[in-house]
């Protein structure tokens, strides 16, 4: 089952939540159980202390009673040893017992009764011992026979026995509770552990299957990528082939067009020579007023034919110019580019110097600001591009102000270089910004001779170097041509198989 990233996130979050809850439950119950067991433990240790106190009190009192009786019977001071030993401890044990039993209001009365009985018993025993010491043994026996002491002692004994059995019961219960708590703890730990194990297993499964899914998706993307690259390569090759074909086509067409044109021009020249002969002859010939045919022939030879020939010549010359322009561009396209290190600053200076006299005629100047090092590109193309740009700037300068041309170059990101050629010439109307780069298209007043191939040629050259040329211009203020070139044309030429 494929896992989408959404379900993956959702299921993982859920599993983590379940795991967290299980952990919280385990920790919570453990804390609670430990707390509880601590309570039981306290209770047990208290019970034990109560037990010790009760037993001690009982045995102290019993020891004292036994010792008292022995003394009464024997009147021997030796028998009073245990009595004297125990007596000071009784109060201590009694107080301990009272302190332990203080938190239990149900036994308060009994404890008060116990103290009364103990004090009474102690008092009675002290009295009888006193009496024996004074030699009144019978009186002491009498006193014991009143049974008041015995009753007090019985009450003490029964209370302590009840207390002990109560404490024993409580201790047994405490044991049981402790055991129950431990069992519960064990179960909580086991169940919680199982839940956490399940959660971890689930999370691991989710992560593993999601990772597999990702790996598969990545493989697919890689495959698609490889495919795409192959296709791009294929298309690029196709494009290169198509481009080559177009150039071949242009070359062949211009060649084939030129052959008949040479004929037209050649025979027009022959015709002109012949017409000149005829014209010379006709002008020398006297033509009678009454001969319309001769007059017509004379007009034809002297005016009409030379005029027709001059039109044919003009038209063929223009056509020849256009064909040559196409031929030039197609030949440029076929020229093998030769990338080499080119010092742009040097080249710009040289190009500027070559048009120096034309610029200085109108008090103009060319400033260069080249902030790039050497480019690896086709030197001849760059020369022609810059030359064309400067020629255009000079040709289309605004006569009312002196010409200013700036050539600037700088690096731009992507290992490219931007060359800007700015002039303060007559500018190009917004509508013509793209048109001027088209073959045979010109902008503005057609006041200068030209065929409209310069910028088309520039664009062809710039593109064949892997760059592009654009312009910004304000009519009447000037134009800036922006040429963007790769710093190293080899990478581009290499990729195009050129």
């Amino acid at each position: 089952m494929p896992i989408t990233s959404k379900t993956f996130v959702r299921s993982t979050a859920l599993l983590l939540l379940v795991g967290l809850l299980a952990l919280l439950a385990i920790v919570g119950t453990n804390v609670w159980l430990v707390e509880r067991s601590q309570g039981y433990f306290n209770e047990i240790s208290e019970g034990r202390r109560a037990r010790v106190a009760a037993i001690s009190l009982r045995s102290l009192l019993q020891d004292m009673e036994t010792s008292q009786r022995g003394y009464i019977i024997t009147q021997d001071e030796n028998y009073l040893g245990p009595y004297n030993d125990s007596e000071p401890q009784v109060e201590e044990q009694l107080e301990a017992l009272e302190a332990i039993l203080a938190p239990f209001p149900t036994v308060t009365d009994s404890v008060v009764q116990l103290r009364e009985d103990v004090l009474f018993k102690l008092n009675e025993m002290a009295r009888t011992v006193e009496m024996v010491r004074e030699g009144n043994g019978t009186g002491a026996v009498e006193r014991i026979r009143t049974d008041a002491g015995k009753e007090a002692m019985d009450r003490i004994r029964s209370f302590l026995s009840a207390l002990l059995s109560g404490i024993d019961q409580r201790l047994a219960e405490g044991d049981q509770n402790q055991r129950d708590t431990l069992t519960m703890m064990r179960w909580v730990s086991i169940i919680g552990g199982i839940v956490i194990l399940l959660v971890v297993a689930g999370a691991m499964w989710a992560v593993l299957s999601y990772t597999q899914e990702l790996a598969r998706a990545r493989r697919e993307v890689e495959d698609a990528n490889a495919n795409l690259e192959a296709r791009v390569k294929e298309r690029t090759a196709d494009l290169g082939k198509a481009n080559e074909e177009i150039q071949r086509f242009a070359y062949i067409v211009t060649h084939d067009l030129r052959a008949p044109l040479v004929n037209i021009m050649g025979f027009t020249a022959e015709l002109e020579t012949s017409v000149d002969d005829v014209k010379t002859f006709m002008e020398r010939q006297e033509v009678g007023e009454d001969d319309p045919v001769a007059a017509q022939a004379r007009t034809a030879a002297t005016t009409d034919l030379p005029e027709a020939i001059s039109f044919i010549r003009a038209a063929t010359r223009k056509m020849d110019g256009l064909i040559n322009a196409i031929l030039k561009i197609s030949r440029e396209g076929r020229r093998r580019l030769n990338p080499e290190p080119v010092d742009l600053a040097e080249l710009a200076e040289a190009t500027a110097a070559s048009v120096h006299h034309q610029v200085s005629e109108s008090q103009g100047e060319i400033v260069t600001d080249i902030r790039v090092g050497k480019l690896v590109t086709d030197k001849m193309s760059i020369e022609q591009i810059l030359g064309n740009m400067l020629d255009n700037a000079i040709k289309y300068q605004e006569p009312s102000r002196s010409l200013r041309i700036a050539i600037r170059a700088r690096h731009v990101p992507g290992n490219r270089v931007v060359i800007e050629i700015e002039d303060n010439g007559r500018g190009i109307a917004d509508a013509d910004h793209e048109r001027v780069f088209e073959l045979f298209r010109r902008s503005g007043t057609q006041s200068k001779p030209g065929e409209g191939i310069g910028l088309a040629h520039v664009r062809t050259m710039v593109r064949s170097l892997g760059g592009d040329v654009t312009l910004t211009s304000k009519l009447g203020q000037g134009t800036t041509f922006i040429i963007n070139l790769p710093r190293d044309a080899r990478s581009y030429l290499g990729s195009f198989g050129a």
Partner: protein, 147 residues
């Protein structure tokens, strides 16, 4: 070309207009030799090497071949190769006069033994001028007899 046996100029040019213009301009340079024009390669080869292709037919004549490379039935290079490969005609000068200025084409022609390679100028004036000068050159050339 003022030898006892007159030199024949063999012109192989598929465009008749061009052929005529070439002829006119050669004549203007004062060359009066016979010009035999062919518009296709087959006829030209028949004339140059004879029907049997041995070249014996032209034994003892002086030939100068003016050759265009773009022909309808074969390229001028085929003709050049055959003329220069034939023992009888190999010493006859061949002037290649064509529109192509492809460097490899030019090299190939010289490799095959072409004596002169001229690119037809693009404009007519240049064309006429070049042909006239070629004519002047012809008039001072020594042409060997074919053996």
């Amino acid at each position: 070309m003022n030898n006892a046996r007159p030199v024949t100029i063999v012109m192989v040019e598929d465009d008749e207009g061009h052929a005529r213009l070439i002829e006119k301009n050669i004549r203007r340079a004062g060359v009066a030799n016979e010009i035999v024009a062919f518009t296709n390669g087959t006829d030209a080869l028949n004339y140059l090497l004879g029907g049997d292709g041995s070249g014996l037919v032209n034994k003892g004549r002086q030939l100068l071949v003016l050759l265009d490379l773009n022909l309808p039935d074969m390229t001028g290079i085929d003709i050049l190769e055959k003329v220069k490969g034939n023992e009888h005609t190999r010493r006859s000068p061949v002037v290649v006069l064509t529109t192509t200025d492809d460097q490899r084409e030019i090299q190939r022609c010289y490799d095959l033994g072409a004596n002169v390679y001229i690119t037809k100028p693009v404009d007519y004036d240049g064309f006429a001028n070049a042909i006239k000068q070629l004519g002047l050159f012809f008039s001072v050339m020594q042409i060997p007899e074919t053996e």
